[in-house]
Symmetry: D2
């Protein structure tokens, strides 16, 4: 670990995801044998005070209240962006300008136009990029992809996917960056996860017909505030989708789904079998395969047969948790930056996700089917 | 049982559902205390020979190869129609003309126009009608309806429903009445079940945007035949739906769903809770309710608390099976004909289901949202 | 159906199980193609009044308040005994003396001595016997047995079984025949079900070490009574068991198992696989089999591949219920009496079950391992 | 993090658990706000070479091939023992002699006599001790304990517990320290986990009757070796147990349980409710509570309501993994050493677990019930 070349990490944002990134950078070197050792060098948060406190808590060497200084800091090789969505574009563009590798939380941006700007800037500058669709890192998703790609369940005919949580189910859940009319909403926020999964497993989505619904028409302007402001984004989107390879199906994004905490789930139907999954049981993949008199869904449990599970534990039965997915993502990031393997999903892929979400939003407005624009 | 006035049953069709009806008529009097005792009097099937064999096997007193004689038979009070879909209209209209009560399998007909003709004839003649949406009879569905109707889960915001089976998943599954272009297809066949459930639990569907997909473009003309003919109906339909009360959601009908045998399932989301169900575990209802630190889905198991479970067994833990649902339906039929309680779903309700299915089909053709026509 | 030779049924007892038997005799001819057609001829209950009412409700031609007249009635060919346990011996011995086939509810008797008397009388008289261990009739249990017997999961090493319900969990659940010191108790009552299953699937149990526990030391003498009497039987028994073939394991019988309604469940471990089941999901069998990277429990759902499911329904996905198990049992009864197939479990097998239960009770008293006496 | 006083960690053994400890020490400071910051100072393994390689991989500053130098190293404050069981006693006694806090993997030792020696030495020296029963750290287990302790499910009547894995199911799985006659075997190895859970949740076990079974009578002497040696320890133990508070039940330990990867599971039955759990779904606790018509098991999912889940993630739905349990354990260790809170399970508790296991082994030899000796 100590003998590996270092790679300097600069983190912008120290909230929910900032802590998760910090943990991953700290943990990854002891679990994976990587070409570089990430070192937590500089942390930027909204103010110097919160930045300093978070740097101390999360083990970063230095702190700043101004992310602009971070993106040009000489000790920083990778800028990890875990700030609110609206900040992604300015931070990312500045980091690209600074020649840094950019590791940005999902969604890359809140509009396709903005995401396209970032993608083009990154490709022009030739900097490595990665977007934090961490659920793709699950060994069970890798297994699902292998099964589908190998034709093990035949030709794919149907996809039924969903990302449903309940964190906005309460009508008194307040406004936040997530409800910002500039590009928030359930489809853009968590819809991006299930869209990225659908693309990862079944391929590009060509067309969609969707309905975006605002369940709670006003929300408190701040936590606990009596003042309420209208909500202009969707709480719930249902979409019909058609895939490039001919499969058809539906996708739901719902952050007001009472009773659901992380139903990022899908059922993929093929002509010879099917696979099903929910993040609520993230260590299990259901695989249906035909065997006369023994037909049924087999519940496959994550284990050393399913890389990179073995990096965490040599024995089956010892499940992974959510934070471990971020560790896998960071391992892939560092390998990719060092030239080992392809960085995926990069900004171009994240733009394709965003275009899919926007086609859903356009369809909801137009009342008809909309094509997904190419990234 | 023996002292009850008799009610004469005439059965048209002695296949899968014919046997199921016969079993229900035979069993019902010993399980329910009914105002009439059904007596199996006359059975019609495609030929005199198959009719005679089935009558003997199923305990019917007489047999005929011509349903026209059945619908006017003096000993027949109720005509139960379990013949293929295309026969529903002629048999039903003749039975109405004969002044019989009519108990018809779902779907009432293969087009809304035909269903409307039947509904109007029945209402004009004033004969009692019932349509065999047997899944509505499940005590767990009754419980779900009570929960929703009582506001126990708050205002309904979302519905996610599906009827998925795999009996047409095999590209070599042959044509049958189910693939008849005159009105078959997955949406019309099993889609009618989930639409009837959606209406039963959440209310009328006003608008829909749908995509009907034919997965296997040709099928053998007969079982085992080498000759193949094009398929003109859908194997799979995905639909967005909007309910009268403001809820939105999606519905899928899929008879090529590899791995699914009876996923007639739904999740109904309310502002304060949720209920979820799949017919693959028909004795269970999942109810989510909030209780700090104890939140979660409760798996409620069918038992004597959930009428009419108690008619089958006085103790919990002794589950109902599919055939028991038909027995409950027949008990409701006999009570309804005797003037005890309302017959539901009657022809008007079945027409409303059919109109909903047709709006899906129209939407798939038009590419836009379509209103559901009132019944 | 009508053309089959009749076989006259006499039913003793018209409670929970009496109704269940009556339903099965009524339903069976329409579902199975049997050599004889059972006809409900005579019903005996505790009083002439209750007998008459039950006969009318359940479709029996005649009624009596005295079972002694039933067991010699010329029209009765089979005596079905669904009276309380303490009545089994006198009714059964009289029925044997009357030359009748005897179909007795489980447990055959409340002591091995009594069961042995009945077994010997039946074998001496050469009358057909069957005992109502209906759970053995489940197509999923038949599948489990086939899997084990074929060596599909290798040599059996472990058995973990249980029958847990909660009907006596309430300390105010009153005394009944089930708590009769002469032979009631959880081990004898529901323990007999899991012992019969264990024997059916894994073979004879040779030795046991057990602990019988009385959880509620007094109970009301009658429903609702303020007067309480001591309980002298077990509410819960845990037992270690050793099988003839070398497997070892544990068995629990528990009628005070808060939260369980019908956890008649087992996991059978073999050197190459395992099967698991619970009657709470009676249409599912879990089968574990090794396949690199795809290992896991497959949830096999009951369907036409699993006889005699097809007698109830030609399509998968239409589950069986508890009452259907009794129908299968009655079909086997009628075939066995007509000389088609072996009657199982007969009185000798039921005695073997009882001897196993008594060895558990002896062990609990002695504090050491006890051999199970041969039947 | 950086401003906290340091606490020096010395790790003995760098296999499966050694890596897991190293990860936990590295991660803990960024997740928990602790009074001390653990620093990875010295790692001992079997040889200087493997020690050096592991120290580099796991981020330890120095390495040694001789644990004797580690236990007296001035920079080491805590000795973490993750070496094979037979080494626990010498390493632990030397560490105590060196005045170190001792953090030892389970089982503390392979015999009660040895564990007692270690417990007495530690208590005499007054050094802090903790034993690695990490499964106790699960927020869901903490919730289960709170529920039981608060009387929420009434008086406890029954316990049904198990630790079943399949890593020795293969007859060709070789000998290792786990099969060492000096104290290995399934009961001692994984049985200690379920015994510690039983004690944690329900209290001390007073008596037991058990059967220890050796399923595979010989095993290869080394991985891949053709030479086989007899196995003198159990592969599977079934035990009846009686608790101090009157509850009774059964416990199974089984490392040849084909199909099970981590069935560390229990069902605790009370007079008013029940809780059930399996480590195979470690983020779920099932709680049964009575509510008329709504009775059933509620599946409670781990979330911020269940400390210390919030240390890992502020939102529900983001599950914990196995390695996170070790992080919680290490947080408790560091707080305990700093005088915040009680260290549990300490050596005395681990001895009590060991005495319970040994009573099972004695019972299996004697054929009768055995008292558990007090720690
Ligand atoms: N991959 C995943 O599963 C998840 C991704 N996310 C994404 O992560 C991003 C952050 O979300 P959360 O961590 O939940 O939000 P959060 O509100 O918990 O944290 C945001 C952080 O950014 C900081 N911040 C605000 N303004 C700043 C500025 N001008 N300069 C530097 N820092 C500033 C805040 O002080 C705070 O520490 C979002 O893009 C979100 O969509 C969030 C949750 C899960
Ligand atoms: N409620 C439910 O869950 C289900 C409803 N159904 C419905 O039941 C109806 C029948 O379907 P299945 O029983 O599956 O079909 P099936 O093909 O098994 O049986 C149809 C029967 O009708 C008979 N038949 C054909 N022509 C006839 C004629 N001219 N006169 C009299 N009988 C004639 C056939 O000989 C056969 O016995 C359909 O409307 C279907 O949609 C079917 C399965 C399940
Ligand atoms: N196979 C299974 O799954 C089950 C089997 N059983 C067994 O069935 C038997 C009956 O139990 P339940 O039906 O639950 O009891 P129950 O109390 O519901 O019914 C007993 C019936 O016997 C009648 N009876 C009492 N004295 C009589 C007499 N002298 N002559 C004629 N009838 C008399 C009663 O009036 C009552 O109708 C028992 O042996 C029990 O163990 C009970 C439940 C389930
Ligand atoms: N808490 C839990 O869930 C688990 C606990 N364990 C326990 O952890 C302990 C270790 O087990 P594993 O890590 O599975 O074994 P392992 O065989 O994977 O690792 C043992 C390590 O000890 C080293 N070692 C051997 N002799 C040594 C010596 N003389 N000096 C220093 N190091 C030496 C080996 O080189 C190896 O690195 C055991 O007590 C076991 O029971 C194991 C697995 C899970």
């Amino acid at each position: 670990m100590a003998d590996k070349p270092e790679i300097g990490i600069g983190l912008v944002g120290a909230g929910f995801m900032g802590r998760c990134h910090a943990n991953a950078f700290r943990a990854v070197s002891g679990l994976f044998d990587l070409p570089r050792r990430p070192v937590a060098r500089l942390l930027a948060d909204a103010t110097p005070e919160t930045a300093a406190a978070s740097a101390a808590a999360l083990g970063f060497a230095r702190a700043t209240g101004d992310w602009r200084t971070l993106v040009t800091d000489a000790e920083v090789d990778v800028v990890a962006v875990t700030a609110p969505n609206a900040l992604h574009e300015p931070v990312v563009l500045a980091a690209i300008a600074g020649g840094k590798a950019v590791y940005c939380e999902k969604p890359l941006s809140t509009t396709a136009a903005s995401a396209r700007t970032m993608m083009q800037a990154a490709e022009a500058a030739g900097v490595p990029t990665l977007v934090g669709f961490n659920f793709l890192r699950n060994p069970m998703i890798r297994l699902a992809r292998d099964i589908v790609a190998a034709g093990e369940i035949g030709r794919i005919t149907g996809f039924r996917g969903r990302h449903a949580e309940n964190y906005m189910a309460d009508p008194d859940a307040p406004h936040s960056f997530r409800t910002d009319p500039a590009g928030g909403g359930a489809a853009a926020d968590i819809g991006s996860h299930i869209v990225s999964l659908a693309r990862h497993l079944v391929g590009p989505i060509l067309r969609t017909s969707a309905a975006c619904t605002t369940i709670h028409r006003t929300r408190p302007v701040h936590p606990g505030s009596a003042e309420r402001a209208p909500v202009e984004v969707d709480d719930m989107t249902h979409a019909l989708v058609t895939f490039e390879d001919g499969a058809a199906g539906s996708i739901e994004a719902n952050w007001a789904a009472t009773g659901r905490t992380m139903d990022l789930s899908f059922e993929i139907t093929g002509t010879r079998g099917a696979v099903a999954f929910s993040q609520e049981r993230m260590n299990e993949l259901l695989l249906w395969s035909a065997r006369p008199g023994r037909q049924g869904y087999t519940r496959i449990e994550a284990g050393p047969d399913h890389p990179p599970y073995g990096a965490f534990c040599p024995a089956p039965g010892h499940h992974l948790g959510f934070n471990d997915l971020k560790v896998i993502e960071v391992a892939d990031l560092i390998r990719g930056i060092a030239g080992q393997g392809v960085l995926y999903p990069d900004f171009r892929e994240a733009l394709a996700v965003q275009e899919t979400v926007e086609a859903m939003q356009r369809s909801s407005a137009s009342g008809g089917w909309e094509d997904v624009l190419p990234p």
